[in-house]
């Protein structure tokens, strides 16, 4: 693996990790913008704009865009989160330059009104779709409750009302502010020629003008509020919990990730033995979401409405018992082994590597070789876990439940 980096004069970073043995190559444009960079008036604009990039440029219609990608045999898509909008494509090595040129064009979209109006229907359907997925809906609601007025509580999709009210003018204004070259990182992984792809990006994006594209990154520990909602359509109770932890930039984020695995992995964890093995809940998982200068643990549990209270008693006991029912060496070692083999498997595919490379650069501003990541995971000790728990206890937490009527 060979790492390469180039920064264009306008601030756009290009990074790449070359693996000549790979059969494919992946390219991604990571725009450092998402729901937390929105105001209430334009809630959902980042995600809506992500859709609009596929609608074409002055020269390309929406159908032309799809035809261009499909003619290259590319697997392509995009995703939006609270703090990133990522556009990517995977192709055979011979097609990478062309697919990169296409993305460079698309990142300066025409945002036509008729496309904007048609796509509004699709976004509203996507909002309706997630309403029928309580496992996602409960996470969204818990996040909003946990972060309250802090920008990290904003919904990625926005609401039906905010999307209906959004204008193409507001979207253009947001685009002009956020899609500045100094707020974008181009990432390439797999089998490719760095100089050649760099050349494509330089020609395609080199003339874009830099702009101020800051982000407010105030720390907020969360509200620890409790709330619930009853719904006719539900058959099970869906519970989401949130509590604060370290950020992506914090050196202890691997410690937090391992702690979440020890407590809430889908096999052999504390949640597993107390809740799933005993058939009290069919799902119980915990994950660490390390973000820009802020972080949160999220737990998700699906159970019957009869077992809801019992589940919360057990979860509370697990959270509190970590002090007396100490984490063992073998629990930590198992968590490490799981994370390490996941890293090996993920990084064998260029698309898996692309995401890791991209986020490391966006958050840390540096390249982290796989070996460094492995070493950092191996170095975590039991004492590190307890020091983290001391600073970020799991109780109190924010709780949102979706329940059957």
């Amino acid at each position: 693996m060979q790492f390469k980096h180039k920064k264009l004069n306008n601030g756009l970073n290009i990074i790449g990790e070359v693996n000549k043995d790979a059969q494919s190559a992946a390219v991604g444009f990571f725009v450092r913008t998402g729901a937390r960079d929105e105001t209430d008036q334009i809630s959902g604009v980042s995600h809506y704009l992500e859709h609009m990039l596929f609608k074409g440029t002055e020269k390309l219609s929406a159908l032309d865009v799809n035809l261009c990608f499909d003619n290259l045999g590319a697997q392509y898509n995009a995703f939006t989160s609270e703090e990133n909008t990522v556009f990517y494509a995977v192709t055979l090595p011979g097609q990478l330059a062309e697919v990169t040129n296409l993305w460079c064009d698309l990142l300066r979209p025409s945002l036509r009104d008729d496309d904007f109006n048609m796509e509004k229907n699709v976004i509203l359907e996507e909002i309706a779709m997630y309403k029928d997925l309580p496992q996602f809906d409960v996470m969204d609601r818990c996040r909003a409750l946990h972060f309250d007025k802090h920008p990290c509580g904003k919904s990625v999709l926005g609401s039906e009302e905010s999307i209906k009210a959004l204008t193409s003018g507001q979207m253009r204004e947001y685009f002009a502010r956020r899609y500045a070259p100094n707020n974008i990182t181009a990432v390439i992984a797999g089998n490719f020629d760095f100089e050649k792809i760099c050349g494509c990006i330089e020609v395609g994006c080199g003339k874009w003008q830099p702009k101020q594209a800051d982000r407010i990154t105030e720390y907020f520990a969360g509200t620890s509020k409790k709330d619930s909602l009853k719904r006719n359509s539900l058959n099970r109770q869906h519970i989401c919990l949130a509590s604060p932890t370290v950020s992506y930039q914090d050196k202890r984020c691997y410690t937090a990730m391992l702690l979440a695995k020890i407590i809430g992995d889908d096999s052999g964890s504390r949640f597993f033995w107390e809740l799933v093995d005993t058939a009290i809940a069919e799902t119980a998982a915990m994950q660490c979401e390390a973000m820009d200068k802020i972080g949160a643990y999220y737990s998700y549990i699906q159970t019957s409405s009869e077992n809801g209270e019992k589940v919360m008693e057990i979860v509370e006991r697990i959270f509190k018992s970590l002090q007396k029912d100490k984490i063992s060496d073998s629990e930590l070692q198992t968590a490490k082994n799981k994370v390490l083999s996941a890293i090996t498997i993920k990084n064998e595919v260029p698309m898996g590597r692309l995401v890791e490379l991209g986020f490391n650069w966006v958050y840390l501003g540096k390249y982290q070789p796989i070996e460094d990541e492995i070493r950092r995971i191996k170095d975590v000790t039991i004492a590190d876990l307890y020091a983290l728990l001391e600073e970020f206890p799991l109780v109190p937490y924010t709780q949102f439940s979706l329940c059957p009527k």
């Binding site: 494919s24 799809n66 990608f69 082994n337």
Partner: protein, 410 residues
């Protein structure tokens, strides 16, 4: 360069397949045990869902905690799934852990403890998971669609049904395991970094002495299709549509795959363009080819709000019906490129390669090399695909909807 596929039969007939991948450090493997949803006796629907959990609750003299500790300690990424004919046990990990992992899986398959106290937990979990399906209407649509499309018992739900799950006993499930965990009919596939000879010696030692059992014959009932609606007070109407087509062994298999790619390959394909891009009817729309050994279908899914459900359904049906009338050379070219490059990209994943080898062997009695698949895709033409579609037109549909309103089917 010709791709190498390793094949070996153990002395009792169990099939061992291997796909070596020079550049990886990981290894993935699958056991296809002939104990799927369709092969269990009538009245036992859902037994495989209990069994796939129960067999991991202690084996080879190890308690449930000891066994889970050892499996997790190897960093294994485990998965179990239930198909029509098989319970599939899958795992992936770093290559040096392979022999230890195989040893533990041999215990799970051949020497599960099958403790009756643990059975109650497995049964309760299966019942809870079935109940949870109501809160995932999209997934439930695909399960019900298969159930309605394939004649019983082929399309039986892997999750089972409540009445039959509740009646199942530990004794009954033990009997199903004894009758169906037939090692001679089991397919084992591995992909990634491994030593095939060493692996075969280990598998012979662990599984080779297991006697072969009689193969189960299944007589499916008559296929009925039709329209089935399931009321659900949600936001969207979830629409599943399935039409019969040729199975994987057919000489027309690649023509069918191209037809599906024209319909729903990339975002320029017909369904995405007509349903989502031009009309804004939905977020999710797509079609896929799905085959059992006996029969196959092309299934479509879309989810949309109630006032748009009828139009969404009508547009999908119209696109399926008119596919056989005309396909352009450009569409053909895109379908081929999409399938071929997808094939190569998928080939970089050890988990995908192992599963593809096992499925190929079960369906075709051999493992196709990437070159062979590529050549077969290349052989198709607009003419061959249109001829296939005219011989096998999309005109009979099985439709399932879940949501607040019904649609009027064709």
């Amino acid at each position: 360069m010709m791709e190498k596929i390793d094949i070996h039969k153990l002395s009792n007939g169990m099939t061992i397949l291997g796909v070596p991948m020079a550049q990886v450090q990981s290894v993935a493997f699958d056991f296809l045990l002939p104990a799927g949803a369709a092969v269990v006796p009538d009245g036992c629907c859902g037994a495989p869902a209990i069994i796939e959990d129960w067999i991991f609750r202690g084996a080879g003299g190890k308690t449930s905690r000891e066994l889970t500790g050892l499996l997790d300690g190897l960093g294994l990424h485990r998965n179990s799934s239930i198909e029509s004919k098989h319970i599939t046990l899958s795992a992936a990990t770093e290559a040096e852990n392979l022999d230890k992992a195989i040893e533990l899986y041999a215990d799970v398959i051949l020497k599960p403890s099958l403790d009756s106290e643990q059975f109650e937990f497995s049964k309760q979990l299966a019942i809870s998971e079935l109940a949870g399906l109501d809160d995932d209407p999209r997934h439930k649509t695909s399960i019900l669609l298969r159930e309605h499309f394939y004649p019983d018992p082929l399309g039986r739900s892997p999750e089972g049904n409540k009445e039959e799950l509740e009646k199942l006993s530990a004794e009954k499930c033990k009997q199903i395991i004894a009758d169906n965990f037939n090692v001679a009919q089991t397919i084992f596939a591995v992909a990634g970094k491994y030593d095939f000879q060493k692996l075969c010696r280990q598998l012979e030692k662990l599984f080779g002495s297991e006697k072969s059992k009689a193969e189960k014959a299944i007589t499916p009932k008559k296929q009925t299709l039709g329209y089935h609606h399931h009321a659900h007070d949600g936001s969207q109407v979830h629409i599943g549509i399935m039409t019969p087509t040729v199975p994987a062994q057919s000489s027309d298999y690649y023509n069918a795959r191209i037809a599906v790619a024209v319909l729903s390959g990339g975002m320029s394909s017909r369904l995405f363009t007509e349903v989502r891009e031009k009309r804004g009817l939905c977020y999710a729309v797509g079609a896929k080819y799905s085959s059992l050994k006996e029969m196959a279908g092309i299934s479509c899914y879309s989810g949309t709000t109630p006032d748009k459900a009828q139009e969404t359904y009508d547009v999908i049906i119209a696109e399926m019906k008119k596919l056989g009338k005309d396909i352009s050379e450009d569409e053909m070219k895109r379908a081929k490129i999409g399938l071929e490059s997808g094939l190569i990209m998928q080939s970089e994943s050890t988990m995908a390669r192992a599963m593809a080898a096992a499925t190929d062997f079960y369906m075709l009695g051999k493992v196709r090399s990437l070159d062979e698949i590529k050549q077969q895709i290349e052989k198709t033409s607009v003419k061959s695909v249109l001829e296939f579609l005219n011989k096998n037109p999309f005109e009979k549909f099985c439709t399932t909807t879940i949501g607040p309103t019904k649609i009027k089917p064709v």
